[in-house]
Amino acid sequence: MATTHEDTLTAERAEPAFGDREPLVQLQDVKAHFTLRRGIFVSKAVVKAVDGITLEIARGETVALVGESGSGKTTLGRISLRLIEPTEGRVLFDGQDISHVPEGQLLRFRRRAQAVFQDPYASLNNYMTVAQIVEEPLVIHKIGNREERAARVREALDAVRLRPPEEFLSRFPHRLSGGQRQRVAIARALVLDPEYLVADEPVSMVDASSRAEILLVLKDRQEDAGTAILYITHDIATARHFAHRIGVMYLGHLVELGPADRVIDNPLHPYTRLLLEAVPEPDPQNRLKERSIIPGEPPSPANTPPGCPFHPRCPEFMKGTCEAAEPEWKEIEPGHFVACYLY
């Protein structure tokens, strides 16, 4: 499993500095199980959306979570924001356990951690102007007077490249394009100067030609203000360019975690490899060959297989091993972990 192509830029960016830094967000063996009631006479089904994940995010670091629908990446992001209370495990923010604090006492945390969601058509209140939307966090946290808030709103809009801000202040969301809306949502999240930001599929509903603009806004922010970002995406290619580390999720489990370039260039888990293979790139040669694919469809999280969750679809399946018990979490190269019996 030696890397084939090395690249100076890659080496520089893969500097394993983040493991040593002080973690801002610590997820410790968190689980989120939901009970699904199917009917009065039927037993309850347990959906294991997140099933024992440990992850740390340092200040100024971007961690990408990639995986397909049902992998639990969104749930994990929500747990880290305490929008969902974990069933088991702890969530530490700046050293403080926030996993079971009542909602009323979370206000200080809410000010320091923010989120951007997938659907810019659903996450903005259509009955408010852009100015009102971006100002709202300041109002909720009682920051500044009217003029100060207006100034900060203008600043935030400028930072997300809605320029000139004056042109956007009094518009309603329905008069904006998807990319512009999403930048309003980011401005709303950034106006509080958060230390931690969860960006949940922030570009999947935005036109391809505008995606990079949004991701660059986030990247600038992370570099300038040292914001820690959890970037949740199904698009592994963007993860490479905008994250320092990538975690690959499958059915509520973290199956691989490592520096972005290492995960892309030296994928360890069979799932990661197949996922990378499935990503199309604009190349006229593509049409001449077939892709290697992951057979079948992912099982429902209400019905996870025993052992390694990927074993029923895995081309490297080893009978008697993979389905027997969950594989251990191993560090294969510095900072690069995998849960697989191949190693």
Binding site: S209, P280, E290, R291
Partner: protein
Amino acid sequence: MAILEVRDLYLYYETPRGPVHAVDGVSFELPEGSALGLVGESGSGKTSLGLALLRLLPKNVDTYKGSIRLEGRELMELSDEQFRREIRWRKIAMAFQGAMNVLNPVVKVWLQIAEPLLLEKTPRPQARARVEELLELVGLSKDVADRYPHELSGGMKQRVVLAAALVMNPKVVILDEPTSALDVSIQAQIMNLLKRLKRELGLSYIFITHDIALASDLCDYLGIAYAGQIVELGTSEQVLLEPEHPYTQGLLESIPRLRSTRLPSFIPGAPPDPVDLPEGCRFRERCPKAFERCTEMPPLLQGKGAGHEVRCWLLAGR
């Protein structure tokens, strides 16, 4: 030999705010057995183009004109009834976008696939056998035939839609975003299937998508659509490797590459309001290379040689 030839196709919708130029003078040729990708982002009119080819016009149509020739036969001269009887599904079929809502929720899968066959008085057992054959062809088990759509996953529904498109052995299949609601792993499965069908059945495809990378996975030719018009047309090699139109260039540069460390870039601004299009070139407001002429006159699609056509004033000088 072009199986499908489209010349100056127009489709305008009437809206309270004014006409929408959804398809605005589109021309292309589709050689037999090949795949043409029509790539466009929101508001480019790519979905309307698919509907225009099958004459599935909404009630608020304002203008619908142009020429569509299938195997040399002018389709625009056919009456609605003739078009329905002879062309739809028999010659041109379409696998629709958003397989979630495309299937009738209260009719069993097999009947939805077999419907056009049964209309031609094919005996039921024979139609049933054909459905099972098609289901296997698209990689589904036979017992899917007796299920209702809500019992299937998204990927399975997309396969059913594909099987339905093939039931009458059409010459041309229009694929309208056939994978946009699916995960990449399922998307890869479907793309492989499409390639196989093309090879084995000699199908011709028009592949409508917003994802230029995905289009390259299947298409021999690519047309890039912007605001109702095709701005660049050529072979996949020409368009992907030597893009001439600034929009195509920008679009390609905005795709993040897995195997390269170059950061993707972006095209500033947003597509124009389809009711209120700018004068001159429709892309000029977002174009980094726009000059005076672009505001004055709309550029025409001009050949650059070897079938590569570009709608840009930059090329006029050469």
